[in-house]
Symmetry: C2
């Protein structure tokens, strides 16, 4: 059974907070429920839609606006869109919220200490050594959501726990249903 309810799960949080890991598990879980799923990853979108943009506030905001534009087009046509993007500025996220139906802000809220400890990509070490400028959480601001639909503490809970919380929220808000119903 196809589930044609479109929505945008917007995963925001620091580098290393677990956004991509979470998205990689959420995608198949939603597909199993009959959703058509699209993952828009911050890095991939930068390559395809934002060549030449840097990490100033203005460029970051433009990046987010473009992801929001594409996400909105897809969700309008019934696609379950997963966005994994640091998206550090509240105002830019809120502009997408205003423009897009069924916008679900998911705050992936691992603290910077946890992310720096994981340091999956080795970026925190470089940022703390001053080798990367405008690094969110170290040398660039991150503005946490004030009132996100979902808040996940990935420093304390497993990925599966996080996935279950998101699915439970979507069910409670009639955006998804088990596929065997």
């Amino acid at each position: 059974m196809t589930n044609d309810t479109g929505f945008v799960l917007w995963l925001t949080g620091l580098s290393g907070a677990g956004k991509s890991t979470l998205a990689a598990k959420l995608g198949p879980a939603l597909a199993e429920r009959g959703h058509r799923v699209e993952l828009l990853d911050g890095d991939e979108v930068r390559t395809n839609l934002c060549q030449g943009l840097g990490f100033s506030r203005e460029d970051r905001d433009t990046n987010i606006a473009r992801i929001g534009y594409v996400a909105g087009k897809l969700s309008k046509h019934g696609v379950a869109v997963l966005v994994a993007a640091i998206s550090p500025y509240r105002e830019a996220r809120d502009r997408v919220r205003t423009a897009v139906d069924n916008f679900v802000e998911v705050y992936v809220a691992a603290p910077v200490s946890t992310c720096a400890e994981r340091d999956v990509k080795g970026l925190y070490a470089k940022a703390l050594a001053g080798e990367i400028k405008n690094f969110t959480g170290v040398s660039d601001p991150y503005e946490p959501p004030v009132n996100p639909e979902i808040e996940l503490h990935t420093e304390a809970e497993s990925v599966d726990d996080s996935v279950h919380q998101v699915i439970a929220w979507l069910e409670a808000n009639q955006l998804t249903a088990p596929s065997d119903r």
Copy 2:
């Protein structure tokens, strides 16, 4: 009945050739057949995805690549995508063709004399007076498709005729079916 066959109808041709007019009639015709339809208009996309890009060959190619990226995401999920964009360079169009399934190149082939005579937006007058640089067909090249799926001569046929030709092609290629079937 929903028709979930995705494809990209890529309308290429000079400014004033009739791309937007045609897209405006094709959209409802496809929606009536149960397609979910999205129109990506060159101008609108420039505003949302390509702020800052100009009309050099490089910038035009980037513009086309971005439209192609979004069109591909949508058609992959079963949307009938209409693109109306001058897209003057063959190579850029062919790159989209390679990247996207069910790419249908529609050459809206009114000659420059007809387009300049219509001059709906008053742009040809300005371009011919040298007031607009890089104006396709006047001071910038247009490379016609060598082997387009569909070629429409809007200088000689009505918009309805053109719409019928496109629909007939889509039917013949199993990309659409009358909704009462």
